[in-house]
């Protein structure tokens, strides 16, 4: 297998990726690479193409062109099942869950990985414990709140524990306690992570590097402390705000 030389040292590598939806270039010529064990963040206003870029990684959308590699494996030369063993995702989407319980949801993920019964049980209990759903494990998922459901899907991903985590708005619906607990857990595991975030203070806290997306293109990248300047927030987020250490002082929209 031939590797892109730029990708050689990266655990997750995206080269010149373009994605079209209804003839519109939603992602255009995007390149990025995440070294093993680092957490990188995709930032940008609504509609910048962050989710579409992530969807391409877990193969919900086919790219028009470009190359994606994870741990030296090229995406297109692997089956969907094989790819899912390497790269797992936390997805933004609602589902009808008639008759399913949190235990079922986590188990479905683990069985897709083809693990043995004992291992499934062990990981299931551990993951439900981390997200604090042990007590509700056998209750109908329809009765969970939005945040509890998000924790449930987080548990599925933590239980599967792939080498690459792709997280689309992982803190959606979560209270502050669980935002920190779950992202701390991801960081503790030392996996390679690419996530998109709206909360800039979380990006500042967890990301080794962030990319700024605008109209389908990655327009800037760098360490969060450098990239998230007052000028950048003014231009791209249309807010007057400034980081002081890890906290964001917001004056208001512009």
């Amino acid at each position: 297998m031939l590797h892109d030389p730029v990708c050689r040292d990266a655990a997750l590598c995206i080269r010149n990726l373009s994605v079209f939806v209804d003839g519109r270039g939603v992602v255009q010529d995007a390149s990025l690479s995440v070294p093993k064990g680092e957490i990188h963040g995709l930032l940008g206003p609504n509609g910048a193409g962050k989710t579409t870029l992530l969807r391409t990684l877990y193969r919900a959308t086919r790219p028009a062109s470009g190359r994606i590699e994870a741990f030296g494996r090229e995406m297109d030369s692997h089956s969907h099942g094989e790819w899912a063993q390497v790269l797992g995702a936390l997805v933004q989407s609602a589902g009808l869950l008639a008759g399913l319980t949190p235990r079922d949801i986590v188990e479905i993920g683990l069985e897709a990985k083809g693990l043995g019964r004992g291992e499934v049980r062990r990981r299931l209990d551990e993951a439900l414990g981390i997200v604090g759903l042990t007590d509700k494990a056998d209750q109908s998922a329809e009765r969970l709140s939005g945040g509890e459901l998000q924790r449930c899907y987080f548990a599925q991903l933590l239980a599967c524990d792939p080498q690459v985590y792709v997280l689309d708005e992982p803190t959606n619906h979560l209270d502050l306690h669980y935002q920190l607990v779950l992202l701390d857990e991801v960081r503790r595991r030392g996996r390679t992570v690419l996530m998109c975030l709206h909360d800039l203070t979380l990006a500042m806290r967890y990301c080794h590097k962030v990319y700024l997306m605008q109209s389908g293109r990655i327009v800037a990248s760098g360490a969060p402390a450098t990239l998230l300047s007052r000028d950048m927030l003014m231009t791209h987020y249309r807010v007057d705000a400034q980081f002081r250490g890890a906290s964001l002082d917001v004056t208001g929209p512009v």
Partner: protein, 335 residues
């Protein structure tokens, strides 16, 4: 797997055995207990006429009805998974309306010789397949997965079109042929023959086995398209497989027993309430329950107005309405 699943399955299979025996032992013809056993044991002393009724008439009918009930319930469960909608039903895809329109057209318009040679069942099956292709065709969007809700709405549109065609045919057709066609439309298992049983059995076994082998993928489908894809399942393929299986099961059922509604809608719900939504346990229970329900209803159809027979569809709709309303209320509650 819920701990109570083995007990539930055994109980349901026990129930199945019981209603199947009841379906064979009871009927319009009065047979004494001694004769019943003699007939079942194929004893020499059994009265020939009654033996013929049991072996050539009741047994194939009970078998066929059981297989149809199991098949329709399985098709319903799969369809509800594919479309992620608890109100989905094989008949919602326009299948029954297509089958009805084709069958009624054949009964009323085609020369009797031709209808007999082709057989109303085959014609109905082709009608179902045509309606299905139209529904899927209407809900396709270029290069994208059809939205489940759009599939259901397309099914409703196709159903309406074929229903109006059916009504038109009945309106302009001559009264005798129309009465024949009406009988077929309401669904009946009367006159089922042995040669129809293997076809029903084979399709049920094949679809059931394929579905159970892919239980993981079906479970993942419940979580939604995106999540299933992220877990490495190719949801487009799974949906296509389900749709083909549904046409096969429903088309065959319609072709043998006419329109038998509601089984595919209500039975999977009952099973899901009893054992949860994981397909490894849901599908076997759904099939067994479907068989129990339809055999029971068919027996009641034979007994209630004996010696007249009620159409299956009439009694089913009567029984199905209350649970249907409960499901609807349950959904509104959840939303």
């Amino acid at each position: 797997m819920p701990a109570r699943f083995p007990i539930l399955l055994v109980a349901t299979l026990g129930g199945l055995l019981f209603v199947a025996l009841a379906g064979v032992l009871w009927g319009t013809a009065q047979i004494s207990w001694a004769d019943r056993f003699a007939i079942l044991m194929r004893d020499e002393t059994a009265p020939r006429g009654l033996s013929l009724i049991v072996w050539q008439w009741r047994i194939p009918r009970v078998l066929a009805v059981g297989l149809i009930g199991a098949g329709l319930a399985l098709a319903g469960a799969l369809m509800q998974t594919a479309l992620r909608n608890p109100m989905a039903d094989p008949y919602l895809m326009g299948l029954s309306s297509g089958a009805s329109a084709a069958a009624v057209a054949a009964i009323i318009w085609l020369p009797t010789g031709m209808t007999d040679r082709l057989g109303v069942p085959l014609i109905a099956f082709l009608g179902a397949a045509l309606a299905f292709v139209m529904t899927i065709g209407l809900s396709q969007r270029r290069g994208r997965m059809p939205d489940p809700l759009v599939v259901i709405l397309a099914g409703v549109a196709v159903s309406l079109m074929f229903q109006s065609l059916t009504a038109f045919f009945l309106y302009v057709g001559d009264p005798h042929a129309t009465r024949n066609a009406m009988g077929w439309l309401m669904g009946t298992a009367a006159g089922t023959q042995w040669h129809e049983v293997p076809m029903l059995g084979l399709s049920l076994v094949v679809v059931g086995a394929v579905a159970l082998r892919n239980a993981n993928a079906l479970d993942a489908t419940l979580l939604g398209e995106e999540r299933a894809q992220a877990l490495g399942f190719r949801i487009g393929r799974i949906r296509l497989l389900i749709f083909v299986a549904t046409v096969l099961l429903t088309g065959l059922a319609v072709s043998v027993a006419g329109i038998v509604g509601f089984v595919g809608l209500i039975v999977p719900h009952m099973a899901r309430l009893l054992t949860g939504a994981r397909h490894r346990v849901l599908l076997p229970l759904t099939m067994a329950l479907g068989a129990v329900v339809l055999i029971t209803v068919d027996l009641l159809c034979r007994l209630l107005l004996a010696p007249e027979e009620l159409p299956l569809g009439v009694l089913l709709a009567l029984f199905a309405a209350p649970p249907f309303i409960l499901i609807l209320r349950g959904i509104r509650h959840a939303a």
